[in-house]
């Protein structure tokens, strides 16, 4: 896999659900070695777009292209496992078809979850749970990693650590990464491209460098290397729906 090789692309994606427009004319592409972060308010269509890229959902209009024989490692949002299901971490990781055992040991060491293997899935903390999910995505030696809110339910220190892991994975495997972020302003520092969507693409750009941002310095008191960056939105048009969502008051959006 060459750096910069096109892995997936979606063009002019339209999705409608019982009369409501979910996505309108959205373009997206991810190349090998690139990290793309999707941000946007709740209900903006981020997860729908991800499901289209994964091939789980067909858009009403628009086209999706995947490189032939593309292997996707998918990390869904937190699992909702029944308390009645006895399932250890090891068993969860082995549920995937066709895993090579050598790859298994390597991935669990990399993700630092060796000591968790015999614990029940339901007993994991937020950060442990996400590391285990990421490990499962890595088991397939993916060309493209798709991460749906990977740092959900993880404290700030854990978020930075998880982002560092993801950065290292990208550097090591040279895979493309498409992730959804739950935060409108705080994204992974090494993100190459941030896409803000709210049914349509509002803006696209680079995250600001972390170390220079005064708010970051105030928060952490020391520069760089924690893996988080601020994203400053530069909308070149008025995002009507964006504002409408603000009024409805998710309390989540202020940009």
């Amino acid at each position: 896999m060459k750096k910069g090789e096109q892995l997936v692309s979606a063009e002019g994606i339209h999705v409608q659900w019982s009369g409501r427009l979910i996505l309108e004319g959205v373009d997206l592409s991810v190349t090998a070695g690139e990290i793309v972060t999707l941000i946007g308010p709740n209900g903006a269509g981020k997860t729908t777009l991800v499901r289209i890229v994964l091939g789980l959902l067909r858009p009403d209009r628009g086209s999706v292209w995947q490189r032939p024989k593309l292997r996707i490692g998918y990390m869904p949002q937190r699992l909702q496992l029944s308390e009645n299901m006895p399932l250890t971490v090891r068993r969860f990781l082995r549920l995937i078809p066709r895993v090579h055992l050598s790859g298994f040991d390597k991935v669990i060491r990399e993700m630092g979850i060796t000591h968790l293997l015999d614990n029940p899935m339901q007993s994991l903390s937020g950060g442990e749970h996400q590391r285990v999910l990421l490990a499962r995505a890595l088991m397939r030696a993916p060309d493209l990693l798709v991460l749906d809110e990977p740092v959900q339910g993880v404290d700030v220190a854990g978020q930075a650590e998880l982002y560092r892991h993801i950065g290292r994975i990208r550097d090591f495997y040279g895979c493309g990464v498409l992730m959804v972020s739950h935060d409108l302003h705080l994204v992974m520092a090494t993100t190459d491209q941030v896409m803000c969507i709210n049914h349509h693409v509002c803006c696209v750009g680079h995250p600001e460098s972390v170390s220079q941002h005064p708010a970051y310095l105030e928060l952490f008191g020391r520069p760089v290397d924690d893996g988080l960056a601020f994203y400053t939105h530069r909308h070149d048009h008025i995002c009507d729906e964006h504002d409408a969502v603000t009024e409805v008051g998710s309390g989540y959006v202020d940009g």
């Binding site: 998918y74 496992l81 029944s82 006895p86 068993r91 549920l95 995937i96 078809p97 397939r140």
Partner: protein, 261 residues
């Protein structure tokens, strides 16, 4: 001991050996109410079986499979909340079944037997159905075990990893339909789903893997059948409800043990 009680035990054990492992999946997938709905629809299958003069087991399997397909389709269009939909289907199919039976005047049907089971009247032909159907379900369950576990944990993750989710779900529904058909005679349509979920729930505290839980559930179920039949023999209580009561007692005991730990 009389031959009929041995036949009853063979029938009951044959049913729970597959109903309990399958029931573990029903519990993990939070589909207890779904199983109940399919079980209720079995009475409609019985009614149509009489009406069209086809084998009752076959009619029940077909109707249950049809209802589960309807449910899949309705869920896809998100017409109603799932539990509402299940409630509507469960009770309307049960009622339609009762009405259809009432219309067939020439027919003398032992309704109580179908509603609560008539395990002591199990015939050798019934035994063939139970063990044949049970073996079929056992083989199918073994074949789809891993993909079924994978979609139980997360359907979309499994799909991205290459599991044929729709096919596996379909097989799962067909297995449940078949189990309902063969267990109707044992505990009756109103109690069938209890033979799936109570042994599984009782096994939870003693197991640390899905396989363990299914095997222990099968053992608990078999124990409940023997205990229930024994109680029915000594105290002349209705056999089906006695079996369910026995499994409920075993479930309560399993909780005592986990509380003591």
């Amino acid at each position: 001991m009389d031959e009929f009680i041995l036949r009853a035990a063979a029938a009951g054990v044959g049913v729970v050996l597959v109903a309990a492992p399958l029931g573990s999946f029903v519990v993990w997938r939070r589909m207890a109410y779904f199983g109940d709905t399919l079980a209720h629809s079995a009475l409609l299958g019985v009614a149509l079986g009489f009406l069209l003069d086809v084998n009752l087991h076959l009619a029940v399997v077909l109707i249950a499979a049809l209802i589960s397909l309807c449910l899949l389709a309705l869920q896809r269009y998100r017409l109603l909340a799932d539990d509402t939909l299940l409630g509507i289907l469960a009770h309307s199919s049960l009622s339609v079944g009762l009405v259809v039976i009432a219309f067939q005047e020439s027919l003398r049907v032992d309704l109580l037997g179908y509603l609560f089971g008539d395990i002591l009247a199990v015939t050798p032909t019934d035994l063939w159905w139970i063990w044949g159907g049970g073996l079929l379900v056992g083989a199918a369950l073994t074949a789809v075990w891993r993909p079924l576990l994978a979609i139980t944990v997360h359907e979309e993750l499994a799909q991205v990893e290459g599991v044929r989710v729709t096919l596996v779900r379909l097989v799962f529904m067909l297995m449940i339909s078949l189990v309902i058909a063969i267990s109707m005679k044992i505990v009756g349509v109103l109690l069938i789903s209890s033979m799936m979920i109570i042994p599984a729930a009782a096994a939870r505290h003693f197991s640390s893997t899905p396989e363990q839980m299914s095997l222990i559930a099968a053992l608990v179920g078999a124990l409940a059948v023997v205990a229930g039949l024994g109680a029915s023999w000594y105290w002349d209580t209705p056999a089906g409800p006695s079996i369910v009561t026995a499994s409920a007692v075993l479930f309560a005991l399993s909780h005592l043990r986990s509380a003591a730990r």
